[in-house]
């Protein structure tokens, strides 16, 4: 069931705009502000980070999207770009950094390794995708993805932020008091991380028997 929000009449709005009066909603201006100042956390894990750096430089110019300020501290970051191979040894650190970011926070998993383990899947030392431990908003395939792909992921994330409702039952996690902000950090086990995945975030895909 969706509750239709009272909206301003489009014609009246256009008429006012012609007179120089701009109207918006609180939700609209809130999301507009957030989507245009997404500050990523400054860290890279492998070769995808090189493409991320290229995306932030003059040629691809991530600054156009308000995301040029790569923060060296998780306290000031809104977005975590997991760029590269997440090894099992590194995964607890990545999750802990994610936990230390303030809400609202978003995650882009960049590259084949970050989304699934990529060429190292089922290797003894590589995590099979960071989405096993933290909720990922945008996945980018590619090995490594080109900077344009990262820009596209960024625009996808901006669209997602734009459409997040401020009130109502389906408002995003950071506006709900009982939704968790921290996710359990995996421990080092005998052969693998324990637990191997966070079931509240990720479930194994089911085999479809034809």
């Amino acid at each position: 069931m969706t509750i239709e929000k009272p909206k301003m009449d489009e014609g009246l709005r256009n008429e006012l705009q012609k007179q120089g009066v701009f109207t918006t909603t609180l939700e609209g201006i809130y999301n507009w502000g957030r989507q245009n100042s997404v500050w990523p956390l400054q860290f890279g894990l492998a070769c995808c980070a090189i493409e991320m750096i290229a995306a932030s430089m003059a040629r691809y110019d991530l600054a156009r999207f308000g995301a040029e300020v790569f923060r060296p501290s998780p306290r000031q970051a809104d977005l975590m770009i997991v760029a590269g191979t997440v090894t099992k040894k590194m995964a607890p650190q990545v999750v802990r950094l994610y936990n230390q970011m303030p809400e609202p926070k978003y995650v882009i998993a960049m590259g084949a390794c970050a989304i699934s383990g990529g060429p190292f899947k089922q290797g003894y030392n590589v995590l099979k995708g960071i989405d096993r431990y933290i909720p990922v908003d945008v996945h980018i395939p590619g090995c490594p993805p080109r900077p344009e792909a990262l820009l596209h992921a960024f625009m996808t994330l901006q669209k997602k932020i734009e459409n997040q409702p401020l009130t109502g039952a389906n408002r995003p996690r950071h506006l709900q008091a009982d939704a968790p902000s921290e996710f359990p950090v995996p421990k080092f086990g005998v052969h693998d991380l324990e637990p191997p995945s966070n079931p509240t975030v990720w479930q194994s895909p089911k085999m479809v028997r034809a």
């Binding site: 099992k88 040894k89 089922q122 030392n125 099979k128 080092f188 052969h191 191997p196 194994s204 895909p205």
Partner: protein
């Protein structure tokens, strides 16, 4: 640079009692190597570094090899006289090769600009007698690589200044680059063209159903 035979004879001359074997290489590279006994390993390494003719002052690479116990089949051609006619018959000989762990060092000389000389050391077996002398006191560049070999193959280097795991975490059990390493059974279903992955997924899920 001297040939391996010359180097071998000079080492045996300088260090009596050292057992050295030249390992042939059939591949197109044809890079032969010196197999050195573990007891004299450090002394031979010292000799190779300090000898004025060789001056192998740079160890560019140290790596490990796992040789599990295996049946080696070798084909031998024989001349057999059958019914008065000489015939050529191929016979396969099966020999049991005992397992061992091996380290390989690639040595170069920066001063003399030659190399590589490849040095091999083998442990007695793969389980309890897995000690080898560390060559880190001779070539400092071996330190992290020997740690990596220790981590991934389980060769214990005597005389290494800081022998800890380097890639895997403390508390990890087994050595993942050994051929008989069994990884965790965590095959999830995925649409993949790799049959062995699908097979392992089926086994994994069957085990889950039983449990």
């Amino acid at each position: 640079m001297e040939t391996l035979e010359q180097i071998k004879s000079r080492i045996t001359h300088a260090l009596p009692g050292a057992r050295i074997e030249i390992i042939p290489n059939d591949s197109p590279a044809g890079q032969r190597s010196l197999l050195v006994d573990a007891d004299h390993g450090a002394a031979i390494a010292q000799f190779l570094r300090d000898d004025p003719e060789l001056r192998l002052d740079y160890c560019s690479n140290a790596t490990g090899v796992d040789w599990p116990e295996a049946v080696v089949k070798t084909k031998i051609k024989k001349q057999v006289i059958v019914e008065g006619v000489e015939k050529e018959i191929e016979e396969t000989l099966e020999t049991l090769r005992s397992g061992c762990l091996e380290t390989v060092y690639h040595l170069y000389s920066m001063a003399k600009k030659h190399g590589p000389v490849i040095l091999r050391l083998r442990t007695e077996n793969r389980s309890d007698k897995n000690h080898l002398p560390s060559l880190t006191p001779v070539w400092r560049s071996c330190e992290f690589q020997e740690r990596e070999i220790f981590d991934l193959y389980g060769i214990v280097f005597d005389g290494h200044p800081d022998l800890r795991r380097i890639l895997m975490w403390e508390g990890f059990v087994d050595h993942p680059m050994r051929k008989d390493y069994v990884g965790p059974d965590d095959y999830d279903y995925e649409p993949t063209p790799h049959d062995d992955v699908l097979e392992k997924t089926k086994q994994h899920q069957a085990a889950e159903v039983k449990a």
